[in-house]
């Protein structure tokens, strides 16, 4: 006997309450399934986007590294390090969480900084700075996508667990409990019926003797 079955009293009231609760759980389950579908759809979309962005990032990074290596070779390490040292290095990002079916996923926006985007500061590093700046933006994009995917995947597995639990444990338990109460009630009704019949027969027999 399941835990729920053991806990409920086999009464009509309990049966009605259980049936009502089962309908409610089924409704919630439908909602969760809908949420799961939406999350899975979004996840598929993000994974596709991520594959494209990763390829783009690899390409951009390779261009950026090649430009930086070229700069190192052309002007020397001392010159490049000296210029790089002057960069304030403080990158600013705006993080705004977005709500998707109750899951908060991060939306990160890079705040443009003069030191990174200025085409001529200094003139020698124009190309590497531009390429690295692009790579940085791309890596932030990929980072945000990865974070989104992670959040969605965690949420999806939670929803999946809930749906499975409802489908395979909770609803069957309710069904069992309902079936148990129904059977009990039926038995009680039969007993009642036989008792009534027996009493009726005894009364009839007594009346016939008289």
């Amino acid at each position: 006997m399941s835990s729920l079955t053991g806990k409920v009293k086999p009464t009509k009231g309990a049966l009605l309450a259980l049936k009502k609760r089962r309908e409610y759980v089924k409704g919630a389950n439908e909602l969760l399934k809908h949420k799961r579908e939406s999350l899975a759809k979004e996840l598929r979309k993000l994974v596709g986007e991520m594959t494209k962005n990763r390829e783009k990032l690899e390409e951009t990074l390779s261009k950026a590294y090649s430009a930086i290596l070229n700069a190192y070779i052309t002007w020397g390490e001392t010159e490049i390090e000296c210029i790089a040292e002057t960069n304030a290095g403080a990158l600013e990002v705006n993080v705004k969480p977005k709500n998707l079916m109750g899951v908060f996923i991060p939306e990160i926006k890079l705040v443009e900084k003069e030191e990174i985007t200025h085409p001529l500061s200094p003139i020698k590093l124009k190309k590497p700075v531009e390429e690295m700046s692009k790579a940085l933006k791309e890596s932030i994009k990929v980072g945000v996508l990865e974070a989104k995917i992670e959040k969605l995947a965690v949420s999806l597995s939670e929803v999946n667990r809930k749906v499975n639990a409802i489908d395979k444990i909770i609803i069957p338990e309710y069904d069992k409990a309902i079936k148990y109460i129904s059977e009990k009630l039926e038995e009680q009704e039969l007993e009642e019926f036989f008792r009534t019949k027996k009493v009726k027969r005894i009364i009839e027999r007594k009346e016939a003797v008289k």
Partner: protein, 344 residues
């Protein structure tokens, strides 16, 4: 000692420049270690063998190379007892100061404190060749104090004007322009005291240098979408150079390419500009500028084999040698090939 002695020393130093064979051997090396070994075997033994191997990192070797270049200039300066020639070499040596000032100003413009250890980024200039105490300059509070400190030097006036423009635009290129302009003025003033071939060749040397520098800046700024007026403000002022005027006026890069291709001397710039259009790597234009300077060096040396032409030719070739070695050590340290970038 006389003027002739200095020219004689320049001839002597010229024989110590790396040969084609040296470059080929250096390009064949596979590691930085092998490059160091080869450099110790040839002309850089004095500086490199003094240092323990573990200290021979890329920046350290770069510093040694720079030191070597400065030492050669200083050697020529100290052998020149004749006023005009001594002045000329002294003026030429401002190029080191200009490079150091560019760095310190960039740091101050970005509000980064220049610490004692950051002095390693500067070219070490012998005291007798320097007009500025860089250590004191590095300690200045901000850009304004730094420019006030330089007020009475040859850079003062131009830097003051640049500061006003910088405050409006935040464009560091104004300082680079001011420093280059000051260098050009010094060279111009020194040339005024010369006459004949000496004057003609010295003018040819520094004018070509500035035209090439301007050309490079024009190209980059044009492709970055700067207007003619904005570019004119950011390049070293020039007078009478029709080619530069035309290139500056050209509406598109294609148009400027056409102008360049029509000029005999600048023909080589065409390929570089095309490469730049494709890749946006300023290195292509800089390499071509170096090639043009190498041509100039050869021309100056041929024209005046026992005079100032040879001296300038040698100084240009030494500068190119240092640039080449910087490229080689950086590429070998990163396991890359650099053949096409070496000019010899």
């Amino acid at each position: 000692m006389s003027e002739e002695y200095t020219y004689h020393r320049a001839h002597g130093l010229k024989t110590r420049l790396l040969t084609r064979e040296d470059y080929q051997k250096l390009l064949q090396t596979k590691t930085l270690e092998e490059v160091i070994d080869y450099l110790i075997k040839i002309n850089y033994d004095e500086e490199l063998s003094k240092l323990p191997r573990e200290e021979l990192t890329v920046p350290r070797i770069e510093k040694v190379l720079m030191q070597n270049w400065v030492n050669h200039v200083y050697l020529l300066y100290s052998t020149a007892t004749v006023g005009e020639l001594r002045n000329l070499i002294y003026s030429y040596a401002r190029v080191f100061e200009v490079e150091n000032l560019k760095k310190i100003i960039l740091w101050k413009a970005k509000r980064k404190p220049f610490r004692k250890e950051d002095l390693q980024y500067l070219i070490p200039i012998p005291r007798r060749l320097a007009t500025i105490n860089f250590e004191a300059l590095a300690k200045t509070r901000d850009l304004k104090q730094l420019i006030d400190y330089l007020e009475l030097t040859i850079y003062g006036e131009n830097l003051k004007n640049a500061l006003e423009k910088y405050e409006e635009t935040k464009q560091v290129l104004f300082f680079e322009k001011a420093l280059e302009e000051s260098y050009r003025e010094v060279m111009f003033k020194t040339t005024l005291r010369l006459s004949g071939t000496e004057k003609e060749l010295t003018e040819r040397y520094y004018k070509t240098r500035f035209i090439l520098k301007n050309l490079m800046v024009i190209f980059v700024l044009k492709s970055a979408g700067y207007t003619q007026k904005e570019i004119r403000e950011l390049i070293i002022p020039f007078r009478g150079d029709e080619l530069l005027k035309k290139v500056l006026k050209a509406k598109t890069t294609q148009e400027s390419l056409k102008i360049l291709s029509s000029a005999k001397y600048w023909k080589m710039m065409e390929t570089a500009a095309e490469e730049y259009e494709k890749t946006r790597e300023i290195g292509f234009i800089e390499d071509t500028v170096t090639r043009a300077l190498e041509n100039l060096a050869i021309e100056l040396m041929e024209k005046d084999y026992f005079g100032i032409g040879f001296l300038f030719g040698y100084l240009i070739l030494k500068e190119i040698e240092i640039q080449n070695l910087v490229k080689i050590i950086n590429s070998k340290a990163r396991g890359l090939s650099v053949k096409e970038k070496i000019i010899f």
